[in-house]
Amino acid sequence: DAGITQSPRYKITETGRQVTLMCHQTWSHSYMFWYRQDLGHGLRLIYYSAAADITDKGEVPDGYVVSRSKTENFPLTLESATRSQTSVYFCASSLNRGDGYTFGSGTRLTVV
């Protein structure tokens, strides 16, 4: 039962570089989400997807791009990383609307 896998677990990148965070789930869950976690802000939604090829913006989408060509994958790309994007990023999935999420283990991203 592999569940939901995020990679890498830690990443350091330079300002201006493009970086992609990967998320893969093995359950064929319809819904997938990307959140960022920052001290004092809790978890804030970046993007979400209700199904393959359907994505929508969340609360803090600026500077991020997502795609979902396959149900099981939902990569998050920072097109030109900035220091303000230093954060812990969580991917999550759920089967139905009333379900809680199952979270990945998170990626700690540092932009220097």
Binding site: Y35, G42, R44, L45, A50, V88, A92, R97, G100, S105
Partner: protein, 116 residues
């Protein structure tokens, strides 16, 4: 805007005692679910308990129970017989069911310390 408020940034409880974490939320929707998540130092997000808004009965999971007051939009978490392993950040969240925007909205969290 739909929001979740956790007014206690930090709390402390002695081992074996009971502690209650507060949460209030604001939504105009009538159909939604409420959740409490635990995040230990490992960073993993763990679902603690789930409550359907249409149910009056409060949810219970072993030592964890909630006090759900729909009219007051309050959803507190009670931890009984606290253990050292309960030390973590706790997040309250809700999820509406209408429309395509069905996603969890989180509070800012309460850090729980458990002392001997």
């Amino acid at each position: 805007a739909q929001t979740v408020t956790q007014s206690q940034p930090e709390m402390s409880v002695q081992e074996a005692e009971t502690v209650t974490l507060s949460c209030t939320y604001d939504t105009s929707e009538s159909d939604y679910y409420l959740f409490w998540y635990k995040q230990p130092p490992s960073r993993q997000m763990i679902l603690v308990i789930r409550q359907e808004a249409y149910k009056q009965q409060n949810a219970t999971e072993n030592r964890f129970s909630v006090n759900f007051q729909k009219a007051a939009k309050s959803f507190s978490l009670k931890i009984s017989d606290s253990q050292l392993g309960d030390a973590a950040m706790y997040f309250c969240a809700y999820r509406i069911l209408t429309g395509t925007a069905s996603k969890l909205t989180f509070g800012t969290g309460t850090r729980l310390q458990v002392t001997l």
